[in-house]
Structure formats: C-alpha cells, structure tokens
C-alpha cells in the first residue's frame, strides 16, 4: 500500500506556499478611527499598482504583437524563416531553441537537485547541513551575466577542446542519437546553453525539493527505517512519493526560470536563427533574440515580431507558473 493510500497524517503546508494567516475578524470593530480609512486605502492602492503593472505588461505585449500578426497571421507560429530584409518572421527557431535548452537544463538539473536534496536531508552530517544548503543557494544569487561570462570564457573552451570532440567521436556515428552530436565543436551552442541553464536552475529546484522532503511527517520516515529500509529505499519509496506534488511544483518553478533566462544564454548560444538537429551547433532562444536584436530592430514589423516573441514567452512562463502554484499551494488551501 502506498503511503498516500494509508492516509497517514495530512500533508503539511508547503513552506514555499504563502503562509496566509487565518481570517482575522476585526472588521466588526469601529472602522472610522482617525487614519484607519486612509491607511487602508493607501495599502489598497499599492496592491492595485502591482495589478496595473502586470496588466500594462500584457496590454503592451498584445498591442505590440498586432502588426506582425497582421502581416504573418498564424503563419508566424509555424514559419522558420527570420528575415528582417524581406520582413518575413517566424517564431519556430527561437521557440524551439527555448524549449530545447530548457529541456536540457531540466534533464540535468532535476536528478541532481533531487540527489542534493536527499543528501542534505538524509545523508549529510547535521552540522554541515545549513552551510552546505546556503552554499547551494548562493548559486542562485550569482547574477546571470556572470554565468554567461563564465560559460563563454571558461566552460566553452574546455567543452570545445575536450568534451565535444569526444561526444562527436563516440556518439556521433550512432544511428538516430548521432544526429544530435554532429558538426564542428564550437564550444558555444544549444548544449552549452542548456548546461549553463541547468546549473542556474539547480538551486531553485533543490531549495523546493529540500523543503518538501523535510515536510514529510517524521513518523513515515521513522517507520520505514524501522522496518529495515535502506536510506535509498526510504527516499525512493516513502519520501519522494509522499512529496511528489511539491517536487513537481519545484521542477516547474525551475522550468519557468530556464525558459525566461536571458543573459547567460545570450553569451553562449551563438545566436543563429535556424534549427539544427545537432545540439552542438549555435541556435537561439526567444530571450536571446530579444536581447540581441531589439535595440537594433528597425521597422514596425521587425519590432512587432520581437514583441510577439516576448508575448509567447510571457504566456508560456505564466502557464508554467500557474502549474507550479497549483501544485505547491494546494495543501495550503485545502487545509482551511
């Protein structure tokens, strides 16, 4: 019987969800005391400003995207060409680049983050836990431009001289899989961008995974250890299944980051508006395209095409965020 079916202990509030307090019934109090009304309105206005800011973003993006929608129609979404000279624009290459780099980042970061979370919660000596957790989280504090520089000047040359030639040599000749590892080893390209993104989202996923694993009721963990399960079995069969929702929520938070990250990707992806089967070749993402071309874009349709890319990115990250919120908040809501 799985842990959930057993119905032991309710799922706890997840730390990263908003710990919203219970309703406070002060509304019955006399409300007109001096500054009460104005103060309340002041805070309300601030909240409205936040709402207005986001609404403005959405309106700006939608209006900005109209000219290219006029010119290209739905074809914008299925065209691969990107030609400012003939004013033909298609979102396929940057969208594909965004999705592929994010996917590479997830493939790398999710198992690593889970492993680190298990290490920090189950294996690490108590005294080292806090400092190590902070160290991992510091990876999230490093500005993305520094990841970009590091990727371009330090990682890419190493990859170009050793790792990528080895990949091309060993995996390149394979059928199917080999298509991913073709061409000259530039060092910069889709795979490098994915690698850097993986490192960048690792601390976010690790942080959520650590919290949700730590929230598994101690009695479950103790019972599992009590019947003689090994550390791995406890993690694999008890902790991970029990915290599954929260874990997926954390992964989605990381995914949102990976999709929208700009500077680090701009440094290492090589900025080529085409889709190449090989992961070792240059590509582009939505955010890298915006960073590179926006200030130089001339012509309404060109600017509009870039804005439309921004709108696509915004919508995609919003959907991912909604998923993450639903998964991470559910218990917090149901508990009340």
């Amino acid at each position: 019987m799985s842990v959930e079916e057993a119905g032991l202990a309710p799922e706890p509030d997840i730390v990263s969800a908003h710990p919203v307090a219970r309703p406070l019934h002060l509304s019955a109090l006399p409300a007109g005391l001096g500054w009460d009304g104005p103060f309340r309105r002041l805070t309300g206005v601030a909240a409205l400003m936040v709402v207005a800011a986001l609404a403005a973003m959405l309106v700006v993006l939608v209006i900005g995207a109209l000219p290219v929608a006029d010119r290209m129609g739905a074809g914008f979404l299925v065209t691969q060409a990107w030609n400012p000279v003939t004013d033909v624009y298609g979102a396929v290459a940057p969208v594909a680049g965004t999705l592929i780099t994010a996917a590479i980042a997830m493939v790398l970061a999710v198992p690593a983050a889970l492993g680190i979370a298990i290490f920090l919660n189950e294996l690490c000596p108590h005294r080292l836990r806090a400092p190590l957790a902070v160290a991992v989280e510091l990876l999230a504090a490093i500005p993305s431009i520094i990841y970009g520089m590091w990727g371009l000047f330090v990682l890419a040359p190493v990859l170009a001289s050793t790792v990528y030639p080895a990949l091309i040599g060993t995996l390149g000749p394979l059928p199917l899989l080999g298509a991913l590892f073709q061409g000259p080893p530039f060092g910069i390209g889709v795979l490098t961008a994915g690698l850097i993104l993986g490192v960048m989202v690792l601390p976010f996923i690790t942080s959520v995974a650590r919290q949700v694993l730590a929230e598994v009721p101690p009695v479950l963990r103790e019972a599992a250890y009590g019947v003689g399960a090994t550390t791995w079995e406890v993690s694999r069969r008890v902790l991970i299944p029990h915290a599954r929702r929260g874990l997926i929520g954390g992964v989605m938070l990381g995914l949102g980051r990976a999709l929208g990250e700009t500077m680090a990707v701009t440094f290492v992806i090589g900025n080529a508006h085409r889709i190449h089967a090989s992961l070792l070749q240059p590509g582009t993402t939505i955010s890298a395209t915006l960073a590179n071309e926006f200030t130089e874009a001339s012509g309404d349709v060109y600017v509009s095409a870039l804005t439309a890319l921004g709108l696509i990115l915004f919508v995609v990250t919003f959907v991912v965020l909604l998923g993450a919120r639903t998964l991470l908040n559910r218990t917090g809501r149901a508990g009340r």
Partner: protein, 287 residues
C-alpha cells in the same frame, strides 16, 4: 511492505545494500558537483577579476578600446538606478504586502493580487524591459536612467511583496488582538505592532530585492542603454555595471574583457555579500 514474512536472503540483502551505496553515492556526488561548480565560478571571478582590478577601475570612466580607463561611470549609474528603483519599490512592495496580510487575507481580491505579484516575480526580466521600453522610452523619445530604474523597480516590487506578506503572516494574531483590545486604531496596530514584529524579515526582503536587481542586465538593455560618460542625472542614457560588462565581455578587445571581469567581480562580491547579510538577519530574527 506487502505483509507476510519478509524473505531475508543474504544475496538480496547484499543487492539492496549495494543499490543503496550506489544511489547515496550519486546523491553525495551531486552535492559535491554543485559545490565544485560554485567554487570554480568564484575562483575564476577572483583570479581574473582581481588581476584586472586597479585604482583606475574606481576613478576613471569606461574607456574606448586601447586606452586607460575604469568603470566609475558604470558603478555610479548602477548605484543611482538601483537606489531609485528601491526607493520606489520599497513603499509599494511593503504596502502591498501589508494589504495582503492585514486586509486582503483570504479574500478573492487578495488571491488575485497574489497571483499577479507571483506572475511579476516569475516574468522573464527581459519582458519587463521590453514593456518599459514601449511605455517610457518610446513616448519620451530617448533611453534614460529613469526608465531603467522603473524596470528594476518592477522586478524588485514582487520580491518585497512576497517577503513582507510572508513575514507579516508569521506574526501571531494574538498580538494584533491584544493591540486592538488596548484601543489602538488598526493603522497604529499595523505600524506599531505587526510591522515592528516583522521588521527584520521585511528588511531581509528589501536586501534580497537589491541583490536581485543589482546584477540584472536584461531589463536595462532597452531602457537605460549605456553611455561612455558620467551620468550624474538619470534623464539620459545611463551606464550600468551589468550592461557595460555585457558589452565589454562580448567585445574582441582584451582590455575591455579585463574590465568586464573586474566589474563581474565587483557585482558578484556585492550581491553575495547582500544575500549573506540578508540570510544572517533572517536567521537571527527566527531565533
């Protein structure tokens, strides 16, 4: 777990132990790898950055390629834009967080504000820059430091909203009830009791917001842009450390790249210091 007697064969036990050893080994290796990457990045920053640091960096403006110069104008631009952004974002963020925690609470409106703030928090920063470009740079006809500051403020606000609300939610309702029972108006209860109780946490949020925007590059590309000179006021294009780093690092000139590393070291040191300070404050507050 399936009931009945558990078969304990030595071979099976050995296999389980082996699997455990391998998997826990992999978990440990993942942690070590993350630390190694952190160390490698910091090492490279210190080696290359310290090599390029000199007094010039702090006393001269960004040079044309091949001549002497520093990053002073970029440092000043970054400082003033960050300060302007935080000066706007702190009241808006704290008040919004206060509304959510003290007035909105479980209401549907509060849920909506929370969703919008979270969306702003996770919106790619380059999109924020794009929006501010359309709303401020295009109507005004030129890039400006103020536009950059607005973009940075939009990124800082949701960070402050979130921490403020979280910290206020930790203040027990008994404190609020006690204050009101003593006859305090609600606004004084909030300003004198709950804000005070959560002050450390709110300060942490502001520090984290500064750390977040100090290294932001993407939203400044289309708003503040850059320039080669001192920018004492923010009404024109304003240089900033991250944008200068981006421009210099991508250039083919060796001396520009060196300056980029010096700037990267400065930013990383500042940001890491801020986030460690924030952590210390919130750790002390929790005890």
């Amino acid at each position: 777990m399936r009931g009945g007697t558990i078969p304990v064969s030595p071979a099976r036990l050995r296999r389980r132990r082996l699997v455990n050893l391998v998997m826990t080994g992999l978990c440990t290796a993942a942690a070590l790898a993350a630390l190694l990457v952190l160390a490698l990045i910091l090492w490279e920053l210190v080696i290359r950055g310290a090599g390029a640091l000199s007094l010039d960096v702090f006393t001269r403006a960004t040079p044309p390629p091949g001549s002497r110069g520093g990053l002073l104008n970029a440092i000043l631009g970054s400082l003033s834009m960050t300060a302007a952004a935080i000066a706007v974002a702190t009241p808006v963020g704290v008040l919004t967080g206060t509304w959510l925690a003290e007035y909105g609470r479980d209401s549907r409106a509060a849920g909506l504000v929370r969703l919008f703030a979270d969306t702003l928090l996770s919106a790619p920063s380059i999109i924020v820059g794009l929006t501010v470009y359309v709303l401020l740079v295009v109507p005004l006809g030129h890039f400006s430091g103020w536009a950059g500051a607005v973009a940075l403020a939009l990124i800082a606000v949701p960070v402050i909203v979130r921490t403020t609300e979280d910290m206020l939610a930790l203040v027990p309702d008994q404190l609020r009830e006690a204050a009101v029972a003593l006859g305090m108006p609600r606004w004084r209860m909030i300003a004198g009791v709950t804000w005070r109780a959560a002050a450390g946490g709110i300060l942490t949020g502001v520090l984290l917001a500064i750390a977040r925007i100090a290294g932001e590059t993407a939203p400044l590309l289309f708003t503040a842009l850059n320039n080669q000179f001192y920018a004492w006021d923010l009404t024109g294009p304003t240089p900033s450390l991250p944008v200068v780093i981006f421009q210099f690092a991508m250039s083919p000139y060796r001396d520009w790249q060196d300056l980029a590393w010096a700037g990267a070291l400065l930013i990383a040191a500042g940001v890491l210091l801020l986030s460690i300070t924030a952590r210390l404050i919130s750790a002390r507050g929790r005890k």
